[in-house]
């Protein structure tokens, strides 16, 4: 009944092919502009050590954002990723003494299963993903609080996760490498299999996808599964960095992760976007988080600047030719 009448977006008509390609590089351009601005503000900022530190810092955020990107591409949202990552840090810290190296895959698996449970609740009970995962957020936080005894769990012997804290070639943090590999892997799998079609179809038009026989429910559950697994992996990175797990350790990464996805230019309404975009978005967000205070922006102005820059960055990166109505 309310079929969107094909209002040709004016932008689309005017846009030349070259400009079209440019929007694909916008996240990178935004990133470069930010680095340039920070360097102007503090010439000492652009050093190899500083970039190494930033990339190490960004790793967990990249992984979290990459996983949640799949859910966003399917048209949903996963608000539980940070709480799940927090819980995973606790589980990892608790299990490391007994399971050693095995603890890492087990925790990722458990996180993936929790993702599946939320996905299934969303799909089967037909509750909006926003609500399911908001509920999931509080439930997982409560569980984390209880199993950790409301305190941090120290990791005394961190040999099993230490490898993540090494540097490749002395410069590139291992955790960053792993994050990039995860992003590349997800991107590759999407590219070479029908999954990309399925996910975009689900995100753009779920009913059409379903009637075309696309396994919409499975695709969505799968997206939540990957999102959960990524939260688990992010937790491993955090533990390797913190030498402990804590029931609220990753909680504050939720909004930055969503911001990373959107700043990358992925449409929050689903369908259009990619994990590569989220990688660039996560770097932008990380630079904003650490860069602004380090170059000496006072706290209050830092928040105002953060707000402004993030809005401008999204204005730059979003490819509006693919989404006619912005909500």
């Amino acid at each position: 009944m309310s079929i969107p009448v094909a209002l040709e977006p004016a932008v689309l008509q005017k846009k030349t092919r070259a400009a079209g390609r440019l929007t694909g590089y916008m996240p990178i351009i935004a990133l470069a502009a930010l680095v340039a601005a920070l360097t102007v503000a503090d010439p000492g900022f652009l050093t190899q050590r500083s970039l190494t530190a930033a990339s190490r810092t960004a790793a967990p955020l990249i992984v979290l954002a990459a996983g949640a990107t799949l859910v966003v591409l399917c048209g949903g949202i996963d608000l539980s990723i940070a709480a799940l990552a927090s819980l995973s840090t606790v589980l990892l810290a608790l299990w490391l003494p007994d399971l050693g190296g095995l603890a890492t895959p087990v925790v990722i698996l458990v996180a993936a299963v929790i993702g599946v449970v939320q996905g299934a609740a969303h799909v089967l009970l037909r509750i909006p993903s926003f609500i399911v995962t908001l509920g999931g957020l509080s439930i997982l936080s409560a569980v984390a609080l209880v199993v950790s005894g409301a305190g941090t769990v120290r990791v005394v012997d961190d040999s099993a996760v230490k490898w993540l804290d090494l540097y490749v070639g002395g410069y590139v943090p291992m955790s960053f490498m792993v994050a990039v590999v995860v992003v590349a892997l997800i991107a590759l799998v999407l590219k070479v299999t029908p999954l990309h079609s399925w996910i975009s179809a689900t995100g753009y038009s779920e009913s059409a996808a379903r009637l075309a026989g696309t396994p919409v429910d499975l695709v969505k559950i799968g997206a939540f599964c990957v999102s959960g697994a990524c939260a688990g992996l992010a937790a491993v990175m955090l533990v390797s960095r913190q030498f402990s797990g804590g029931p609220t350790m990753a909680d504050n990464l939720l909004l930055p992760a969503v911001a990373a996805i959107v700043v990358g230019g992925t449409a929050i309404t689903g369908g259009h976007g990619s994990v590569w975009r989220s990688l660039a978005g996560a770097l932008v967000v990380t630079l904003l988080r650490v860069g602004l205070p380090i170059v000496g922006v006072p706290s209050a102005y830092e928040q105002i600047l953060y707000g402004v820059i993030i809005v401008v960055a999204v204005a730059l990166t979003l490819d509006r030719s693919r989404v006619s109505i912005i909500k």
Partner: protein
């Protein structure tokens, strides 16, 4: 352990020293006074303090620290409030590797000790068990030794919250007439304390004779709740931190007691210790083991002595290299 022994020697020109103070945010009075104290100290030695705030976000704190340590660390002095116990270890490790001078406050795991590190000079905290017990006792006295009380806990997974509550429990053991009716977490927050208190007041009605709050912010929230329920002055309230509003309330009699933790001093002293070591005026190896991790002096503030605490008194002399450990009340237990 070990670390960079050369750095521990301390051979920096005073003008080369870089002073950094890091707290959660600038939007609560306690931490704002910490940063102000740091500024004042830096000014006294002709430097400026770089202020860092991390919104109570552990990951953001780590991110800032690693970015900071990726810069010039030769004469870097950091006075840090770790967000939680778990945040201390990575900060210490980073500082070790970079050879930056570090003083931490409030939070650290028990098995991690400055004495095992070269540039982690000191850890300063207040004895939460003691303060929790002191205000518990004060509350018991205020309600005449018998009656019900409710407790407002801080953020459950912080050492401060747990120690203080342990102190309350110890106090309850002593004051057998006092009965703990209920305990809820209000996360060190004034707003949450307001709602929780209202709910508990309706739940327990006039059985509630006193309110024990793990910090002053919550105590102030509880006071508002009492006022709104028309119970102002009829229920005793205690807190910890000695924020100005609480001290005034104690002075005015609406609050029974609080415990001094001196934010401005904390902001200055961490920088001062680091500065003294960095410039060679103090050698790490000369610092007594008991001063590497210590409880700072704290005072129970009641109506009697409140007037003395209305203005936080930080004395410039406290920050001279010979006096930096003057407020040590005892080694960390």
């Amino acid at each position: 352990a070990g670390g960079n022994d050369a750095a521990a020697e301390g051979a920096c020109q005073p003008s080369d020293v870089r002073l950094v103070g890091q707290v959660r945010n600038e939007s609560n009075p306690y931490e704002a006074s910490w940063l102000a104290g740091g500024d004042a100290y830096a000014k006294s030695v002709g430097l400026t303090q770089e202020r860092l705030t991390y919104d109570g976000d552990s990951t953001k704190q780590q991110e800032q620290i690693s970015q900071l340590l990726a810069g010039d660390t030769k004469c870097l002095v950091m006075n840090v409030l770790p967000n939680g116990d778990s945040d201390t270890a990575p900060i210490v490790k980073g500082a070790d590797q970079a050879g930056a001078y570090l003083v931490t406050q409030w939070n650290k795991p028990a098995d991690l000790n400055p004495a095992d590190h070269a540039t982690w000079i000191s850890h300063i905290t207040y004895n939460g068990v003691e303060s929790g017990q002191q205000i518990g006792d004060a509350l018991a006295t205020a309600i005449g030794g018998t009656g019900g009380i409710i407790a407002l806990q801080g953020i459950l997974d912080t050492a401060a919250a747990k120690d203080r509550f342990a102190g309350l429990q110890a106090s309850l053991k002593k004051n057998t007439g006092v009965q703990l009716l209920d305990q809820q977490a209000a996360n060190f927050s004034r707003a949450e304390a307001l709602t929780v208190t209202k709910t508990l007041l309706t739940k327990h009605g006039n059985h509630v004779k006193g309110i024990w709050a793990a910090n002053d912010d919550m105590a102030l929230g509880a006071l508002e709740a009492l006022q709104q329920q028309g119970l102002a002055g009829k229920v005793a309230v205690v807190g910890i931190d000695a924020v100005p509003d609480a001290v005034k309330a104690v002075q005015g009699g609406t609050m029974t007691a609080t415990v001094s933790s001196d934010g401005a001093w904390q902001g200055g002293i961490g920088l001062a210790i680091g500065y003294c070591v960095a410039t060679g005026k103090l050698a790490v190896k000369d610092i007594a083991a008991a001063n590497r991790a210590f409880f700072a002096e704290q005072f129970l503030i009641t109506k009697d002595n409140a007037a003395d605490f209305v203005e936080p008194k930080t004395n410039p002399a406290d920050f001279e290299c010979a006096n930096v450990f003057n407020r040590v009340a005892g080694p960390l237990t």
